[in-house]
């Protein structure tokens, strides 16, 4: 047993995937150091107001994981980043940089990269006017608004009409990425449902090419948003947003009827694509990891979470993923590290 406790894992990224990996490894009796570059743990999950498919409060999930990490003895280092690493025979010599350029060097036996994703910059779409038209926001900005409104903190008057445009940067070879970001359909359904819950008399439209609800309870979730919350789904990818008398005029085609459609909205939410963030690119460089053409980490063939000899990955740095998926991947990465440590013993 004393032998096992000498093994140390480094988890990079304190979102839901990194936390779960850290808890899994520490729970098996190993040392875990969790570094998070921002001052707080939580990653993207911290920015969420509600979740699908059960309308749960992500803050509760997160706090539970943070408490568990503390209980299992995970050493949390917020405000720290990994700036370099040197490969050793059975691990890495890693240099961390913390607040005030303070540097620390440590030897670790395995690494979990859980650096998450970031949103695609939707200002690439001139036709949608993000950054120039007030009222056009991206997914996470709207999530923050929802939280403010729900708490009664919103400074502006609540919108009467909200429109959601999906696939902004996803499934777009011209201005974004050819891939589907996988979770925007569900986030959009959730956000649209929340608008109708906060203001049942408001009008809520979702423009879609199709909705992808491949997950346990997901299809039922989207259907309930349409059938019970009465969010209006209109098939078609909007061509243009025009400012008009302080509101936003959206031009699109209803592709089911083949007719042009216009909507005047107070707010337009662009469901931005998700891409690998700078942290993921840095870690793939520092640890020499396998990546795909977009810069997401690519697990080795036939492996759930392994991206290198002693390096595992979990969460949005592999591909956009929701809380539940991030948890599963975090647990898989953690289990991979534990298996590696047990083999070496």
């Amino acid at each position: 047993m004393s032998d096992r406790a000498e093994k140390t894992a480094l988890v990079i990224g304190g979102g839901i995937a990194g936390l779960e990996a850290a808890i899994t490894i520490a729970g098996a009796g190993h040392q875990v150091i969790l570094v998070e570059k921002s001052p707080q743990l939580g990653g993207t999950t911290r920015e969420l107001y509600s979740s699908f498919p059960h309308w749960e409060n992500p803050a509760e999930l997160l706090q539970g994981k943070i408490d568990e990490a503390q209980k299992t003895g995970v050493q949390v280092k917020t405000g720290f980043e990994v700036i370099s690493s040197q490969k050793q025979a059975t691990g890495y010599q890693v240099v961390l940089e913390g607040p005030g350029q303070k540097r620390e060097e440590l030897a670790v036996d395995a690494v979990v990269v859980a650096t998450g994703f970031e949103l695609f910059d939707v200002s690439a779409y001139g036709e949608y006017g993000y950054g120039s038209y007030p009222g056009v926001v991206n997914t996470l900005e709207f999530e923050a608004r929802l939280r403010e409104w729900a708490r009664g903190e919103g400074k502006e008057a609540p919108p009467q009409t909200v429109a959601f445009i999906k696939c902004v940067g996803s499934r777009d070879r011209s201005k974004g990425y050819p891939y589907c970001s996988k979770i925007c359909c569900m986030i959009t359904a959730k956000q649209a449902g929340l608008v109708k819950e906060l203001w049942p008399d408001s009008k809520c439209y979702v423009f879609y090419m199709d909705y992808r609800a491949a997950g346990k309870g997901y299809e039922e979730f989207v259907r309930s948003v349409i059938e019970e919350k009465h969010v209006r789904y209109t098939r078609g990818r909007p061509a243009k947003i025009l400012p008009e008398d302080g509101r936003l005029l959206i031009r699109t085609e209803d592709t089911l009827m083949g007719v042009p459609v216009e909507i005047r909205a107070d707010m337009v939410v662009l469901a931005a694509a998700m891409q690998p963030g700078p942290g993921t690119r840095e870690m793939s460089r520092i640890f020499d990891l396998n990546t795909d053409q977009y810069g997401f980490l690519e697990p080795l063939s036939g492996q759930a979470a392994r991206v290198g000899e002693r390096v595992f990955a979990a969460g949005g740095c592999i591909f956009p993923v929701e809380n539940q998926g991030a948890l599963q991947q975090g647990a898989a990465a953690g289990a991979g590290v534990v298996a590696l440590f047990n083999q070496a013993r």
Partner: protein
């Protein structure tokens, strides 16, 4: 057959202002027919298998969509109302069990109430003759119905060749007897009178 080709429903569609539409028609359909168009998955299974879909101006899927768009005017004037044969395949196959056939019935009733001329007069005539037979004797007298229809549409020899064959095989009864409690049926008709001109 003196079939008058239906006039194309306005092919020009100005941009619909979706935010200015209300859901009054969808609510009316829900109340009157028990059909919730919000359940539509937009899959088109109704339309792919529709018996007469190939001659519909609006297929069943589009009809559900028009209800969502609140386009009552277009629905009451569409030709599909009169080419639909109420076979109910759309309803049978719909994954959300949306009863489009019931909606078609309802919309036809509305054309009567609002005096919207049918795009196919002979179909409306057939409906009326059939219901007239029910009103008169409580059931459909097929032979008389066919003869009446042929005379009124001036197609005196239509199907003349198969009539005798059906008769000798016992498939066509020239004398249909009425039901016993005809008065009860007539009461239904008195409560819900048909529009008489056409």
């Amino acid at each position: 057959m003196s079939e008058t080709m239906p006039k194309p429903v306005a092919s020009f569609f100005p941009a619909l202002r979706l935010d200015e539409l209300d859901d009054a028609l969808a609510r009316e359909i829900k109340e009157e027919c028990g059909v919730d168009v919000e359940l539509c998955l937009e899959c088109g299974k109704c339309s792919g298998g529709c018996s007469n879909g190939h001659i519909f101006d609006y297929t069943p899927r589009k009809i559900v969509q028009l209800i969502k768009l609140g386009d009552r005017e277009r629905l009451l004037h569409m030709d599909a109302l009169w080419t639909c044969v109420s076979c109910q395949l759309c309803w049978d196959r719909c994954p959300s069990a949306i009863n489009v056939a019931r909606v078609m019935d309802y919309l036809r009733e509305q054309t009567y109430k609002e005096n919207v001329p049918p795009t196919r007069k002979e179909v409306a005539l057939f409906h009326e003759l059939m219901l007239g037979s029910v009103e008169r004797i409580g059931r459909v007298a097929e032979t008389r119905l066919v003869l009446e229809f042929n005379i009124k549409t001036k197609q005196y020899t239509k199907d003349a060749d198969i009539g005798p064959k059906m008769f000798f095989k016992g498939k066509l009864n020239p004398f249909t007897s009425g039901i016993k409690k005809i008065e009860e049926v007539r009461q239904i008709f008195r409560k819900n009178p048909l529009r008489k001109e056409v």
